[in-house]
Amino acid sequence: MGAVVGTLTMQTKQRRPSRDKADDDLEMTMVCHRPEGLDQLEAQTNFSKRELQVLYRGFKNECPSGVVNEETFKQIYSQFFPHGDASTYAHYLFNAFDAAHSGSIKFEDFVTALSILLRGTVTEKLQWTFNLYDINRDGYINKEEMTDIVRAIYDMMGKYTYPVLKTDAPKQHVDAFFQKMDKNRDGVVTLDEFILSCQEDENIMRSLQLFENVI
C-alpha cells in the first residue's frame, strides 16, 4: 500500500519539473522590442507616416513581440505560396532582410528593406537584389549561390506544374543567367557586372518598377 502511494506521489512530482522548464523557456522568448519613433523612421525611409502606421499595425499583429524570427518569417511567407515549399527562399529573404545578422528582424529592418524595394532607386533595388543572391556576402555571386537561389524559387512552384519540372531546370536557368550577367566570363558576377547587365535588359528594368504602387 505504501508502495502504491509512493509511486503515485512520484508520478505527480514528475510533472512539475518539466513544467518549470517550459516556463523558463517561455520567459526567455518573451522579448519585446519597440521600434524607434515614427518621426525617425519617416526620416530614414521613403514612407509617409500613414504608411508606416499601416505597416506597423500589420507587423505587430503577426508578431506581437515586435521581432520576427526565422520560423515565423518562413510561416508567413509560406502562406502566400500554398503550392510549393517556400521555406528555402524565405530563408534567403530572411538573411537579406536581417542586415545586422541578429537572427531576428525588427521593424526597422523590415521597413528599411521595404523602403528600398518599393521606393528606392533602381540602383538601390539592384544592390539589394545582389545582396540577396550573394549568400555568403563575399561580394561575388558564383554559380553555386545562384543555383541555390534559383532552386529555392523553383521549389515554390511545387510539384504540380505545367510543363513538368525537370531536375536540371534550375541549372539551365542559372546557366542562362550567367550567360547574360557574367561579362568577363570569370565565373562570378560582381555588383557592377550585375547592375550593368540588368540595366541593359529592358524587361528587368520594367519589372523592377512593377511593385511601386504596392502600398
Binding site: E62, T129, V214
Partner: protein, 654 residues
C-alpha cells in the same frame, strides 16, 4: 490564401523583386488599386455595445459576414454604424478572431448559443484554435448525447411499427422497455444465480451416511441436483435460442462474446447427456463440468460495471502483458540463481530450475509458504534479494496498470473520445479544403482571369470591373504575385489531375517524330509567350487600348519579336521530344474566332515557321476549349493531332 496575413502581402510582393533578374520573361501587369480608400474605422454596434475596428481587419476574411458585403444589410445610415441585434459577449470572441486570426471558445458560453453566433457570422467552427478545440468538441458531444438521450426516451414512449422480432430484440437489450422484458430479465438472473449456487453446493460434503467418508452433496442427492441442472440448462437454452432468433444479424450475434459464454455454459450438460454411457471418458466429462462456472459470466448482461471491467482489462492487455513478462524474467533469473546456490546442500528441495520456480514465485509475491526454504548461506542471501526485488517488480507495473485502468474507464464513459480521431481528421480535412481553396483559387482565377481582362480591355463595364476589383483586390494582388512566380520559372501551376495526365502523356509519348531543334523554339514560344499573349493581346478591332496602360505592351508585333528574341536566347528552354506535344498544346490554346491561323504546332523543321507562328499568335485570346482536330491550318503549318488533340481539350481547362 490565409487572409490572416493579408497585411504582409505588400512585403511578399516587394520581395518578389528578388526574382526579377532571374526571370527571362516579362512580368504581368500588377492589378491596380482603384479604390484609394484610406483605412477607416468601422463601428459595430452589437445590441448597444460599440466595437470599433479597422476596415482592413474585417476584410481579412472575405467569406464571412463581416468581411463581405453582407454586412451592408446591417448598416444604419443615420448613425453610420453597423447594428447587429446579437449577444455582445459572444461577439467579443468573434471580433477577436478577425483581430488575431484565432477563434477561441469561451468556456462559460453555452455551446448551442455559441454555435448559433458562429453560424450567423459565417465562421466555421473548425477554425477554433487548438487551445479551445477539445473543450468545444467535448461540450458539443455532451450536448448531442443529451439530445439523443431525450430523443431515445421519447422513442421508447411511442413504439413505431416494429415486427415481433425487433420487439423481442429490443426487449432483450433494454429490459426496462416492457414488463415482460423485465420479468424475463429477473427470471434469467435468478436462474443464473441458482445454477451457480448449485454448482458450488454440489461439492460440499453433506454429512456422512453409513459409508466411511463424507460424500459431497452432489453424489448424495444426485437426482435432485440433476433436475436442478436440467431446469437451469433448459432455461438457458431457451433464452439463447430466443436471442438467436431475435438478433438482427445472427452471424454477428453468434460471434459476440456473450453468446460464446452462453454456449460454453450449456454445452457441458449436453455433452454429458451424450456421454453418460461411456465410462472411459467420464474423467474427461468431469473436467467439462468446470466450464459450468462460466455461467457466472452471464451476469455481465445484468451488470454494466462488469462489462466495463471486462473491456478495460482487455484494453489494458499490453500493460498486463508487460507485467507478466517482467515477472517471468525475474522468476527465471532468480530460480536459476537459487538452483545453483542450493545445488550443494543435501536433501535440497531445489531439485531443478522449474522446481525453483515455485519458490521464486512464492517469495517474490511475499507469500512465503515455507514449503521450500534455502539452507545454504548463498541461497539465503539470494533468497532475501529475491524477496526484496519481488516487491519492486510487482509494485512497479501495478500503478501503471491502475492509472491506465482509470484512464480507460473515464475514456469509456465518454466513448466518443475514440471517435474524436475521426472527427479530428474530418476537421483537418475541412481546414485543408478551405486552405487548398486558396491554391485552387489561383487556378480558378486563371481560368476566369482572361474574362476579367477582356472586360477591362473592352472598357465597357467600368463599374463591373471596379466592383470585381474592389471586392477581391487582395486576391488579385496575390494572384498577380503567383503569376510573377510562374513567369520567373517559366512554368505554370496546374492542379493534381492535370499533372497526372501530363505525366501519363509524357510517359506515353515515346516516338521521336519531331526534331529537337524545333522544340526549343517552340517551347519558348509556348511557355513564355503563350500565356502572356493570351492575356494581353488586344482584340483585333481595337487599337492599342488606352484604358489598359500596360507599360510593357507596345505593339503586338514588336512585342512578339522582342519576345522571340528574348526567349530564343536562353538555351535553357530545351525540352524533350515528348514534351513537344505538351508545349504545342499550350500554344494551341491561342485560338481565334473565325478563320484565322490558330495553332502553332509546327511539324516542319524550318525556323521560318516561327514567323507564321507569330502571326498566328495575333489572334485574340479565347478561353473556350479549342476545337481539337478542327484547327484551320496555315499553308505552311500542319497541325499534329495525334494524342495531343485529346490533350488540348483537357489542358485548356486550366
Amino acid at each position: 490564401m490565409a487572409t490572416g496575413v493579408a497585411a504582409w502581402l505588400p512585403f511578399a510582393r516587394a520581395a518578389a523583386i528578388g526574382w526579377m533578374p532571374v526571370a527571362n520573361c516579362p512580368m504581368p501587369v500588377a492589378p491596380r488599386d482603384n479604390s484609394k480608400r484610406q483605412d477607416e474605422l468601422i463601428i459595430l454596434n452589437v445590441s448597444g455595445r460599440r466595437f470599433q475596428t479597422w476596415r482592413t481587419t474585417l476584410d481579412r476574411y472575405p467569406d464571412t459576414l463581416l468581411g463581405s458585403s453582407e454586412k451592408d444589410f446591417f448598416y444604419n445610415e443615420e448613425t453610420k454604424e453597423y447594428f447587429f441585434d446579437r449577444d455582445p459577449d459572444a461577439f467579443r470572441s468573434i471580433l477577436n478572431f478577425y483581430r488575431t486570426g484565432k477563434l477561441h471558445y469561451p468556456r462559460h458560453e453555452c455551446i448551442s448559443a455559441y454555435d448559433e453566433e458562429l453560424t450567423f457570422f459565417g465562421i466555421i467552427p473548425e477554425i477554433i484554435g487548438d487551445c479551445c478545440y477539445e473543450e468545444y468538441k467535448d461540450r458539443k458531444r455532451e450536448n448531442l448525447e443529451r439530445l439523443q438521450d431525450d430523443q431515445e426516451e421519447n422513442k421508447d414512449m411511442k413504439l413505431p411499427n416494429m415486427n415481433f422480432r425487433e420487439t423481442m430484440w429490443r426487449a432483450f437489450e433494454n429490459p426496462h422497455t416492457s414488463t415482460m422484458a423485465l420479468v424475463f430479465y429477473y427470471v434469467t438472473g435468478f436462474f443464473i444465480a441458482i445454477s451457480v449456487i448449485t454448482n458450488v453446493v454440489e461439492t460440499v460434503p453433506c454429512g456422512s451416511t453409513a459409508n466411511q467418508k463424507d460424500m459431497p452433496c452432489g453424489e448424495r442427492y444426485t437426482v435432485a441436483f440433476f433436475c436442478m441442472d436440467t431446469a437451469c440448462v433448459m432455461i438457458f437454452t431457451v433464452e439463447y435460442l430466443l436471442r438467436l432468433f431475435a438478433a438482427p444479424s445472427r452471424y454477428r450475434f453468434m460471434r459476440s462474446v456473450m453468446s460464446i459464454i452462453d454456449v460454453v455454459a450449456i454445452l457441458p450438460y449436453y455433452i454429458g447427456l451424450v456421454m453418460t454411457n461411456n465410462e472411459d471418458v467420464s474423467g474427461a466429462f468431469v473436467t467439462l463440468r468446470v466450464f459450468r462456472v462460466f455461467r457466472i459470466f452471464k451476469f455481465s448482461r445484468h451488470s454494466q460495471g462488469l462489462r466495463i471491467l471486462g473491456y478495460t482489462l482487455k484494453s489494458c492487455a499490453s500493460e498486463l502483458g508487460f507485467l507478466l513478462f517482467s515477472l517471468t524474467m525475474a522468476i527465471i533469473i532468480f530460480a536459476t540463481v537459487m538452483f545453483y546456490a542450493e545445488k550443494g546442500s543435501s536433501s535440497s528441495k531445489f531439485t531443478s530450475i522449474p522446481a525453483s520456480f515455485w519458490y521464486t514465485i512464492v517469495t517474490m509475491t511475499t507469500l512465503g509458504y515455507g514449503d521450500m526454504v534455502p539452507k545454504t548461506i548463498a541461497g539465503k542471501i539470494f533468497g532475501s534479494i529475491c524477496s526484496l526485488s519481488g516487491v519492486l517488480v510487482i509494485a512497479l507495473p501495478v500503478p501503471v496498470i491502475v492509472s491506465n485502468f482509470s484512464r480507460i474507464y473515464h475514456q469509456n464513459q465518454r466513448a466518443d473520445k475514440r471517435r474524436a480521431q475521426k472527427v479530428k481528421k474530418a476537421r483537418l480535412a475541412r481546414i485543408r479544403i478551405a486552405k487548398s481553396g486558396s491554391a485552387s483559387a489561383f487556378l480558378l482565377s486563371k481560368r476566369n482571369g482572361v474574362l476579367n481582362e477582356l472586360l477591362e480591355l473592352k472598357g465597357t463595364d467600368e463599374d463591373e470591373q471596379k466592383l470585381t476589383r474592389s471586392t477581391c483586390l487582395i486576391e488579385s494582388q496575390h494572384h498577380h504575385l503567383l503569376h510573377c512566380l510562374e513567369k520567373t520559372t517559366a512554368h505554370e501551376f496546374v492542379d493534381e489531375q492535370m499533372y497526372e495526365q501530363n505525366c501519363l502523356e509524357t510517359a506515353l509519348q515515346t516516338f521521336p517524330s519531331r526534331s529537337p531543334t524545333i522544340s526549343s523554339h517552340d517551347s519558348s514560344v509556348g511557355t513564355c509567350c503563350g500565356c502572356r499573349i493570351k492575356r494581353n493581346t488586344p482584340l483585333p478591332n481595337a487599337s492599342t487600348p488606352s484604358t489598359h496602360p500596360i507599360p510593357t505592351h507596345q505593339g503586338p508585333l514588336q512585342e512578339l519579336s522582342a519576345i522571340h528574341i528574348q526567349c530564343a536566347d536562353p538555351p535553357s528552354q530545351t525540352t524533350t521530344r515528348s514534351n513537344l506535344n505538351l508545349k504545342t498544346d499550350d500554344s494551341s490554346r491561342i485560338n481565334c474566332k473565325g478563320g484565322r491561323i490558330t495553332t502553332a504546332i509546327i511539324s516542319l523543321p524550318t525556323p521560318p515557321a516561327l514567323t507564321p507562328d507569330g502571326d498566328g499568335l495575333h489572334g485574340p485570346p479565347q478561353r473556350r476549349p479549342p476545337p481539337a482536330p478542327g484547327l484551320p491550318a496555315a499553308p505552311s503549318i500542319q497541325t499534329t493531332t495525334s494524342s495531343a488533340s485529346t490533350n488540348i481539350v483537357k489542358v485548356s481547362a486550366l
